[in-house]
């Protein structure tokens, strides 16, 4: 459904993507006095960072850093946020003059009226896999995405709604509105920042690792959720049988540095987030053995090498080995046999673990390449947004007035994403004041 109505409004800047980079860029622009429209396709801003347990190498609580930032973005008078919205197209009319179409999907809830009381969630009879818990647990069709979501308001998953009206009947503020329709909004802006982030490698593309087939093989994002305060289970458990694991393996470079699956580059974050998770696991499960199978540990950032040595000191076992195949044991206990090449000894070995975490890599999000029907937004050889002058002007793209922030231009960690957002906002401000 598309409503016939269209709005036409003006902003100084359009920021596409409400993750940590997009949010930071929007804040910088807004604090300088520019009016910003922040468009986020998910139901909450905060991106992937808001879903993390802690950050490396400081082990600070990710939510404790993200929540105040997200709150500042949400409350800023110069920032308008459209969640559940996507860019249709962006046309450059002239310098400092872009016209964009934003597709705003219906949430079926009036955000301003929702008190996040969760009565609709309790009343909804439907249960479907919760994408914000990476399908480890269910959620309702009337739901608040997650406890620290921003905006903290309910949404209706219309594809799974049975239209029983139970949510509407219990809503104390009558904020549920099934008459909402998709809106197409025409906007005029003077500059654009692309902060469309990255995608995670789908390990189903590597069937030899058994993801999807063996339930105790999970991804690093699923483990991230198991370690977060708002976790799906009461503690770290195997999804295959609810057992507390005690011999856990990490497989680094799953979907990175592997030309055979089309991603030959290093994802830059997997070594460190795996080391971070291993330390958190040692804290959550003091009796557990954690082994990290790696090709090379790339601990290149500030404090990273010390963080790696700290993990070793805590008893994390590091094995320089390339995993060939993962299979389940035949006795039905759900344990897994990892067949690997021990690179130091040059021989093939096997090891049994009761849970395997695939440290999945960073892939480009190519959504932005389709935004510009009349201009060419160049991509680099790995399909990230091309940086026209990566040394002197790293946020510049192939289109004047369009800048890139964060992992949309390549794999990087959170501090680098924030620095990149600073660069993008500075260059955008410079472009705006040249008007």
């Amino acid at each position: 459904m598309m409503s016939g109505q269209s709005k036409n409004i003006s902003f100084d800047a359009l920021v596409v993507g409400g993750g940590i980079a997009g949010g930071e860029a929007a804040l910088n622009l807004a604090s300088t006095g520019f009016k910003v429209l922040l468009v986020e396709k998910e139901l909450s801003i905060g991106g992937k960072m808001i879903m993390l347990s802690k950050v490396f190498p400081t082990l600070d609580c990710a939510a404790c850093i993200t929540t105040p930032k997200v709150s500042e973005i949400s409350r800023h008078p110069n920032i308008t946020i459209y969640t559940g919205s996507e860019v249709g197209n962006i046309n450059k009319i002239a310098e400092n003059n872009f016209e964009a179409t934003i597709i705003r999907k219906p949430r079926y809830v009036v955000i301003e009226d929702c008190t996040a009381c969760q009565l609709c969630e309790q009343a909804c009879p439907v249960s479907v896999p919760d994408q914000y818990q990476y399908n480890l647990v269910g959620r309702k069709a009337a739901f608040i995405p997650f406890s620290i979501a921003s905006p903290k308001a309910a949404a209706i998953d219309i594809d799974n709604c049975i239209l029983c009206g139970a949510c509407e009947k219990v809503c104390p503020t009558n904020c549920i509105d099934f008459t909402q329709e998709t809106e197409e909004i025409q906007i005029s802006v003077k500059t654009v920042i692309l902060a469309t982030g990255f995608k995670l490698f789908d390990p189903l593309l590597m069937p030899r690792y058994g993801f999807g087939l063996f339930k105790n093989v999970i991804t690093s994002m699923q483990m991230e959720r198991e370690l977060a305060p708002t976790r799906p289970f009461n503690t770290v458990l195997r999804p295959g049988d609810g057992k507390v694991p005690d011999k856990i393996a990490y497989v680094l470079c799953t979907g990175s540095r592997d030309a055979s699956i089309g991603n030959p580059i290093c994802s830059q974050i997997c070594c460190m987030y795996s080391i971070k998770q291993s330390q958190l696991l040692m804290g959550a499960l003091p009796m557990a053995d954690v082994t990290i199978y790696y090709l090379n540990i790339r601990s290149f950032g500030k404090g990273f090498e010390e963080f790696y040595q700290q993990a070793k000191g805590m008893g994390v076992n590091f094995v320089k080995g390339k995993i060939g195949k993962i299979r389940e044991t035949e006795n039905g206990n759900g344990n897994l046999i990892l067949r690997y090449e021990d690179i130091n000894e040059g021989i093939v070995k096997e090891a049994e673990h009761d849970m395997v975490i695939l440290s999945v890599g960073v892939l480009p999000n190519q959504d932005a390449s389709g935004f510009f029907p009349k201009e060419e937004l160049k991509l680099d050889p790995y399909k990230f947004i091309y940086q026209a002058d990566s040394l002197i002007s790293p946020a510049r793209t192939s289109i004047d007035g369009v800048f890139v922030a964060g992992t949309a231009s390549g794999p990087m960690d959170i501090p680098d994403s924030i620095l990149s957002a600073g660069s993008a906002s500075a260059e955008a401000i410079s472009y705006l004041i040249q008007e």
Binding site: G138, I158, E168, N174, F178, P232, D241, G242, V244, G334
Partner: protein, 92 residues
């Protein structure tokens, strides 16, 4: 025509049919929920015991049981002597 607040779902119901797969998933969830809650009424259960009682694969028992904990029907009980498996009980 003015649509009454609190009953807007009727408006969408006239325009949109609920897919059969969604109705089937709801039936399946209700069947499993009833089975689990009935089993837990008798006594606290481990995932292994629920698996045998409900004749379901273990990963599905974990998924639905954890969902019922999230929805406030079930709570986690004691862990066994080996610190490996928890029992689960009805939330009173």
């Amino acid at each position: 025509m003015e649509i009454e607040k609190g009953k807007t779902f009727k408006c969408l119901r006239d325009k949109r049919e609920v897919p059969q797969v969604v109705k089937d998933q709801l039936k399946e969830f209700n069947r499993i929920k009833k089975g689990m809650l009935d089993a837990l009424k008798e006594t606290d259960q481990t995932i292994d015991q629920l698996t045998q009682k409900l004749n379901m694969p273990k990963p599905e028992v974990v998924y639905y049981l954890m969902s019922l904990i999230k929805y406030g029907f079930v709570q986690t009980g004691e862990v066994d002597d080996m610190d490996e498996y928890f029992t689960y009980k009805l939330k009173k």
